[in-house]
């Protein structure tokens, strides 16, 4: 038990549970199940991009993907546009959308590598272009997703969304990759000490490349599912995921100094973030209070977790 409590990610679940309990105490148990179901549905999307952001952040200080929101939007728009409410085009739409997302990832890594610029600036400037493409493609359109996609995105089994179950499988896969694949080991090694990783004959370049592509790919998946879930793509659909993706990664116990990833923490943190908002809504708090508290929680968590102290100077 003590050992379990020492894991940072356990705390994100404890926090999520505490917030949920406070909320249902306030409502005298009303809607306890509905709140959880809603939390699972909405948190799922954050978890998908959170996994990608986690891989990027694990690659070490300075690595962060700021192009996730733009990629979500672009892939959502591309999917809707190609599918054009047509069931027959469903698969084509998914492939087109994911191909676009992968291209963004390749482009991001290309900028980092060829222009020798920090990932923040590379992903930031590419996000400008990506967002513009989305605005251009999605201009004046609000295409509904094909019924099968929206059915799939909203379907539930015993109160648990199907998408959530799939994302659980995806999370297990990512967790397994990090723990037991050469890619994962290399990523963790780069995050701790890129020079030592290179001297240990690990494929550092290829691993960083795959990491940025994976992050964009997951943003693409999120874009498609979110479009199905909310009845179409919107140009601001990615916006909230910049903070959400980074916040879930950090609250979930992944080290901002790199080299340590936590998949379960992303689940706990995403649920916590959503339930926190639900709690504040239940209390009747306005948007302002919600925003301030969200921001303060992030600053508090990062201050407790600390920055580079694990790295010896």
């Amino acid at each position: 038990m003590k050992q379990l409590l020492r894991q940072a990610w356990v705390w994100s679940f404890i926090a999520a549970a505490a917030v949920w309990l406070i909320t249902i105490t306030y409502t005298r148990g009303q809607g306890a199940g509905e709140i959880l179901t809603a939390a699972l549905s909405f948190a799922t999307f954050t978890i998908i991009v959170g996994l990608g952001q986690m891989l990027v952040i694990t690659a070490g200080p300075g690595n962060v993907d700021l192009s996730i929101p733009a990629t979500i939007t672009l892939s959502g728009v591309v999917a809707m546009k190609v599918m054009d409410t047509n069931e027959a085009m469903l698969v084509a739409g998914i492939f087109a959308s994911l191909a676009v997302a992968i291209t963004v990832g390749v482009f991001n890594y290309g900028l980092i590598r060829l222009l020798r610029i920090p990932p923040i600036i590379a992903t930031l400037s590419s996000s400008f272009v990506v967002l513009s493409s989305a605005i251009f493609l999605g201009h004046g359109l609000r295409i509904k997703p094909p019924t099968s996609l929206s059915d799939f995105a909203t379907a539930r089994i015993v109160g648990i969304p199907w998408v959530t179950i799939l994302v659980l499988l995806l999370s297990i896969f990512v967790g397994l990759m990090i723990k037991r694949s050469i890619y994962g080991r290399t990523l963790l090694a780069i995050g701790q000490n890129p020079r030592a990783a290179w001297l240990a004959s690990l494929a550092t370049g290829r691993t960083r490349f795959l990491t940025y592509v994976a992050s964009s790919l997951l943003a693409g998946v999120c874009g498609i599912l979110l479009s199905g879930f909310s009845g179409g793509a919107a140009l601001n659909m990615g916006e909230e995921f910049l903070l959400a993706s980074i916040a879930t990664v950090i609250i979930g116990g992944t080290s901002v100094a790199g080299g340590r990833a936590s998949v379960p923490g992303i689940w706990g943190a995403a649920l916590f973030m959503y339930l926190l908002v639900t709690m504040l809504n239940t209390f009747g708090a306005g948007a302002g209070v919600r925003l301030v508290l969200t921001g303060l929680v992030i600053i508090l968590v990062i201050s407790i977790a600390g920055g580079g102290e694990e790295q010896r100077s």
Binding site: L176, R180, S181, I182, R185, L188, A189, Q192, N193, R195, A196, A197, L199, A200, S201, L202, S255, G259, R260, E310, Q311, R312
Partner: protein
């Protein structure tokens, strides 16, 4: 009567298990140039950081003008007392100009017209020390050559605004200077000391020390071993004083002939042909930082070198090049062999564990569990884990970057045996080491100086005297 500028009495400093200074007593008189010599790791830098206030002694007393300074000794206090340091790694701000860097160390350079005063200050000093230096006060440091940077750094240390100069410590000040500027500096040091300032001169160029210092102190293993007026030393007596008393002998009883073995590494270094054959243990030696690590990296990257076979690197600077600090001992060992541990695309946990425990046995890593974090090990055992990482791998060529730094003698002896038996099995070892004793475990060695190999010494010629003679050459005449 001489006035004591600064004295150290019984100063000790430990870094973990490593004793960097083991009770040093040292006196620097006003107006003298004290030469400080000793091998790599003799404790010279630690001593210097102590004087400069960036490190504080674990034990012992530091006093200025016979006044003991206690716990208040800090970088700022040293500045105020007129102690300046020119470090081996330059401490200028690369993004600032020459004049702006002068401002950084002089608080009075502020307010209206500070830039003109800073410019005048540094230009005057540069002209005084290095006439014809060709450095503009508005030049950005990053754009200057390494030699010119060093000139700026030295000149800056001798500039004076509000506090009088008491002591300037120069650590290898001529390492990036050409012969002319080096002579200019040494002449200036003589003028400055006769004007009353004290200078501590650390250099591996014995000619510089003999020609400039009034008194010479020899350090060894964190202690001062000899102290004499410079006039009482000559080159060979100085080399003898630095060396160890016993003459180490090669540990190989039989002659080995590798000429029929396959050549695994082939490269040029300077004018030398560099060649390593299967089964060989080849040392790269000379003074520290003369291009040995660069040679290892060249082989590692297979850049400008013909390399037949896979390589593995054993880091000497464990923290920056070797250890993955979040991982267990086992993971730190298996990281170089992950491909071999794969089953159906995934790393097999049981194979990983058995590899870790096999190597715990064969290299004798002292730990209750290989699943413990790597940092729970002592430095020597961490180093063993790094050896295990390389030896467990499929590499035929093992590159070792001065791997025995800060490792205790017991561990060393164990590792030497393992290296020898692995070499007998056909691996080759390229071993950068500055310790003469260690070279006794090599079949032969290359001596490096100024970035290239300058001599190749066969096993029998690997004596302390030979290596020192080749390493400590005069500054270019």
């Amino acid at each position: 009567m001489t006035i004591k500028a600064i004295t150290l009495d019984g100063v000790e400093k430990n870094f973990g298990a490593v004793k960097a200074l083991a009770g040093v007593t040292l006196r620097v008189d006003a107006g003298e140039c004290l030469g400080l010599v000793g091998h790599n790791g003799a404790g010279k830098s630690t001593l210097m950081h102590m004087l400069n206030g960036t490190l504080s002694p674990d034990k012992g007393v530091l006093s200025i003008d016979d006044t003991t300074v206690g716990s208040g000794w800090s970088a700022a206090a040293a500045q105020a007392a007129g102690v300046r340091c020119v470090f081996q790694e330059l401490s200028l701000c690369p993004n600032l100009t020459v004049a702006e860097n002068a401002r950084i160390v002089h608080r009075p350079l502020k307010g209206f017209g500070w830039k003109a005063r800073a410019t005048a200050l540094i230009v005057t000093k540069l002209n005084e020390i290095f006439p014809g230096h060709g450095i503009q006060p508005g030049d950005e440091i990053a754009e200057l050559s390494i030699g010119k940077r060093q000139m700026v750094e030295i000149a800056r240390a001798f500039t004076v605004t509000d506090t009088a100069l008491r002591l300037v410590i120069l650590d290898e000040p001529t390492s990036s200077l050409d012969a002319v500027t080096a002579k200019q500096l040494l002449d200036y040091v003589k003028r400055e000391t006769s004007a009353g300032t004290s200078v501590v001169l650390i250099s591996h160029l014995l000619g510089d020390i003999l020609g400039t210092a009034n008194r010479i102190v020899v350090m060894k293993d964190g202690k001062t071993v000899t102290e004499r007026p410079a006039a009482n030393f000559d080159r060979s007596s100085l080399v003898t004083a630095m060396g160890s008393a016993h003459a180490a002998k090669s540990t190989f009883k039989r002659e080995h002939d590798f000429s029929t073995q396959q050549v695994l590494v082939e490269a040029h270094s300077g004018t030398m042909q560099f060649e390593i054959r299967k089964g060989e243990i080849v040392g790269l030696t000379g003074l520290a930082g003369q291009g040995q690590t660069q040679m290892l990296l060249r082989i590692f990257e297979k850049r400008d070198a013909k390399v037949q076979g896979r390589t593995a690197f054993v880091a000497g600077d464990r923290q920056s090049d070797g250890v993955f600090h979040l991982w267990s001992i086992g993971q730190n060992i298996t990281v170089r062999s992950l491909k071999a541990l794969r089953k159906m695309g995934l790393i097999a946990a049981e194979d990983e564990e058995s590899m870790a425990s096999d190597w715990q046995q064969s290299i004798k890593i002292k730990t209750p569990s290989m699943n413990n974090n790597i940092l729970t090990l002592s430095g020597g055992n961490q180093q063993k884990a790094l050896f295990a990482r390389a030896l467990a791998s499929d590499a035929e060529i093992i590159l070792m970057d001065d791997p025995m730094r800060g490792v205790d003698i017991g561990t060393k002896l164990e590792v030497y045996d393992i290296i020898k038996s692995e070499a007998a099995k056909g691996r080759c070892f390229v071993w950068y080491s500055t310790e003469i004793d260690e070279l006794q475990h090599c079949h032969r060695a290359y001596i490096f100086r100024s970035g290239a190999a300058i001599r190749s010494l066969a096993k029998d010629a690997l004596t302390e005297e030979q290596v020192l003679q080749a390493s400590f050459a005069e500054s270019a005449a």
